[in-house]
Amino acid sequence: MKMVELQQSFTIEQFYKGISQKRLVGGKCRRCGKIHVPPRPLCNNCLSTEFEWVELPKTGKLLTYTIIHVAPSQFQSMAPYAVGIVQLENGVKIPGMIKETPLEKIKVGMPLKIEFEECLQTQQWPQWSRYYFKPA
């Protein structure tokens, strides 16, 4: 698949455009080096406005998780489902669902890798793709 270049505007919209192309990207501050996920227009560490896109590692480990039984309207048909916070190999932390594993096999510290999926949204929600995690 040919990659479409992300625009040089470091926005949440551009992050999810990356996800739709199966790319996990962050905005790296050119001044202090902090990697922002999601990207931001203003570095909250050094106040710089100069960034570059960096590809993020697609593997990491599970820091904490929960199994959601009572879900909001949009996710009711999926419950119960697991969500967790994953620390990628470069230290960046992102949340996401954990799929393709029996729920009882999920453990803090387990290695996970990222996967991408299309998702059709109900009205009022953006038409973004979604990433999730599965056992590495």
Binding site: P38, T64, Q74
Partner: protein
């Protein structure tokens, strides 16, 4: 050396908490205001109250925004400046903080701070969705993380790091339900057992139904004055001697640590320093037990025990009514209920009752110094206030 009072509470009001069918938020707020007026006959509300600060989280519940002006009108305070504060579950903790700004700046002598929320007429999935708005949309809500889910993530992390158990969480629920059974305004006024708490259905593992606070309707308010004029209105004012507020990332996933709330620790540090008191000086506290794990984390963030020992503090009964430091004597968010926008000033209402010996069956004898801890969302906002008998 205790700090100088920032402002004084001369009266307070609380509506009944519960499922208040057929009432709008503004009507519930009027109930709280009426109690505050009746409690303080020396106050002429229309003449004396110069401004209203009111916490309210959600327009979605009643399709109604613009709560400041509406609440002022329904409280009989038409035409005063009325300002709504919104910081999720800490909306009225922030209203109180803002009211203190108004008094301490010298701009106002007498103000009302309060909060309101009407929630129970909506379905659980709707309320779940509305509450999730207190969290980050593009990463947390988008990935199906609910509000209980965020605190469940903290619970899993706390259990993994410190060995905190589901039974210790259940001890919080049992204690707060017992306290609620002594509070005629609490939403739930019945005791529960550890077994009931542990066997209740899972909401967001490891949190079960009895680990979660209630979806409740209710309103609360305080009348605050400059400390120098408080005695004009009452012989028994309660002075606010410390106030702290801090913020953190909206996305919980971005934080260093999931077992502590940095904003709460910062707010507590500010409030303790301002008040000139230490954690061991606190006689009674109302903390933000939106989930049982949140009360355990609050013990640690407020310095009632060391990091990681919150579970044992609960298990050993040190925070019960007869314990070393009674916490959530009102029943807390867990049993008194959690009408989101009303919670911060409802906590202050309980401390006001305790420090004026009006807490009846749940009175902590001789309580001189109290504390409230009010958290917004998963901890992107926190306020801590410290109170002293006047």
């Amino acid at each position: 050396m205790k700090g100088k009072p920032l402002a004084s509470i001369v009266s307070a009001g609380l509506s009944k908490f519960g499922k208040l069918e057929g009432l709008y938020a503004r009507e519930i707020f009027a109930q709280a205001a009426k109690e505050a007026y009746e409690r303080c006959p020396n106050l002429d509300p229309k003449k004396d109250i110069e401004a209203l600060f009111i916490g309210h989280m959600g327009e979605s519940y009643e399709h109604q925004g613009h709560t400041g002006a509406t609440a002022a009108d329904w409280a009989g305070l038409l035409h005063i400046p009325a300002t709504r504060t919104e910081a999720a579950c800490s909306s009225s903790g922030v209203a109180l903080r803002t009211a203190i700004y108004a008094i301490a700046s010298g701009l106002c002598d007498v103000v009302m701070a309060g909060g309101v929320e009407k929630m129970t007429h909506r379905s659980t999935p709707e309320v779940t969705e509305f509450l999730a708005m207190a969290s980050d949309f593009p990463f947390e809500q988008w990935h199906g993380i609910t509000f209980p889910g965020l605190f469940a993530l903290m619970a899993t992390a706390h259990m993994h790091k410190y060995g905190t158990t589901e039974t210790q969480l259940a001890h919080i629920a049992v204690k707060n339900h017992y306290n609620g059974s002594l509070n005629p305004k609490a939403h739930m006024q019945k005791e529960i057992t550890l077994e009931q708490a542990l066997s209740s259905r899972v909401i967001a593992w490891p949190l079960k139904l009895y680990d979660c606070s209630l979806i409740t309707d209710g309103a609360s308010c305080l009348i605050l004055t400059r400390p120098e004029i408080a005695k004009k209105y009452t012989d028994t004012p309660v002075h606010i001697i410390g106030s702290g507020q801090a913020s953190d990332t909206i996305g919980m996933y971005e934080r260093e640590d999931f077992t502590s709330l940095r904003a709460a620790k910062l707010a507590a540090k500010q409030a303790y320093e301002m008040a000139g008191v230490k954690p061991e000086d606190i006689d009674v506290a109302e903390v933000h037990d939106c989930f049982t794990i949140a009360e355990i984390i609050a013990y640690e963030d407020l310095g009632f025990c060391k990091s990681g020992e919150g579970g044992r503090l609960a298990e050993n009964g040190e925070t019960t009514l007869k314990g070393r430091i009674p916490v959530n004597t009102s029943g807390g968010l867990k049993a008194k209920g959690h009408p989101v926008g009303a919670t911060g000033t409802a906590q202050a209402y309980e401390i006001y009752l305790q420090l004026t010996e009006q807490a009846d069956k749940r009175q902590v004898n001789g309580a001189e110094i109290g504390l409230t801890h009010n958290v917004g969302g998963s901890g992107a906002t926190a306020t801590v206030h410290i109170y002293m008998r006047g």
